[in-house]
Symmetry: C2
Subunit: 227 residues, 2 copies
Amino acid sequence: VSAADLDAFWKLLTVRATFARGETIVSPLPSGKQLTVLLGGVACMAARQKNGGRQIYAFHHSGDFLGLHGLVYGESTGQIEVEALSGCSIGTIDPDALEQALQHHPVIGQALWRAAMIEASVFRQQLVMARWPALKRVAHLLCEQLYRLGSGSRVVPLSQIDVADAIGLTAVHTNRTLQDLRKLGLLSEKRCIEVVDKERLQDVAAFDGRYLDPAVTLSRWDIRIEG
Amino acid sequence: VSAADLDAFWKLLTVRATFARGETIVSPLPSGKQLTVLLGGVACMAARQKNGGRQIYAFHHSGDFLGLHGLVYGESTGQIEVEALSGCSIGTIDPDALEQALQHHPVIGQALWRAAMIEASVFRQQLVMARWPALKRVAHLLCEQLYRLGSGSRVVPLSQIDVADAIGLTAVHTNRTLQDLRKLGLLSEKRCIEVVDKERLQDVAAFDGRYLDPAVTLSRWDIRIEG
DNA sequence: CGAATAGTTGAGGTGGCTCAAATTTTGTGG
DNA sequence: CCACAAAATTTGAGCCACCTCAACTATTCG
């Protein structure tokens, strides 16, 4: 990615805004072709269920595109929204400016497809996790978040309720499972979710982060992401 | 899709072969950029688990691309294979010929992306189903298969074990759930899985097949699939 | 300081699992 | 066409991971 490409990309971000935890960043339907970039904080792609519950499909971190599902799925699938899980700041991209930039800087388009493919990749991993017991599931989610936050991070900035909604457990059971992880010496005894022993946590979760960085290579379509 | 496009596509299929139920059509790793088209029968994309179990991610029907995951994910994710669930016939596509055809017939490339997006879409729906009770899950899977097989179909050509591996239930519990559906008058009493009351089955499953036909529209990328 | 949110703990219920075996169907070789 | 093997379906009994409901405590924030 050249400096010129990056520069062009930053110029796309026209509107900047901030959101507090719990606020909706991208609404279900009217989003249309609107594309958003998360500049700071943690958000999630989620759907509200008829019973009032919330199903979290994936978490978003700084640098992620928000609302890709709107481009990809159209209005064909259920009410997906993007919700702020911490204080978040975002930039929005004007569709017209995006079209122009895509022509001059194909790298941006590649990044979009890469992001869409990683999303699918995360979905598939979630399907695998769905059949694991609670301890392994929670452990894997924490590994995934540490991986995305960067190597230095030890604290996962999510509430237990967020974790529960993401892996499909009750908040109560999630709590008990976290306590089990603490008793095992994998998490600290603090109130927040702080990983003490990342190595053993990854063993418990059988974590392999490679699915978070898929190489998108499709023939001569010129879409090739350096590993 | 013009006749010329279709013609060009059929000329791509060089090698034709048949497989019996249980045989592996696309192997996990060495598949590489090999692309395959399912010409007849039913297959599934699945992964073998350490405990010997089989997790089915999605089913493939006549006309589907097989091994797309190899293009999209590279070798980054677990051992995915494509397995024949009935007698299957396939055609394979030579990578070089594909590259040429992609340039002359962009429709083919669009079809590839469309297929990849539908796969992701199916994954996401599976995530939703994973939190439903068994009856609703089985019912939804059957609706999905009827939808893919075409409006005239009433029989789902899968074994109960296939169904179980796809939705994450035991074969035993899947059997009991199918019997519940029979008692409800939604399935026939035959040995195979034959849907009697498609309407009520869709009610039970809260089925909405639109996620199987996402419109892939990404700005000026010229990828637009007619509804 | 009160109100809302998040975390913790307890008691009891249940959906789906495990293990085991019988029965039916399908496939295969003679 | 039959005999046997392999695979698929069915049935029963017991168990446990996770859920539900219901408090109580700790924290954050206006």
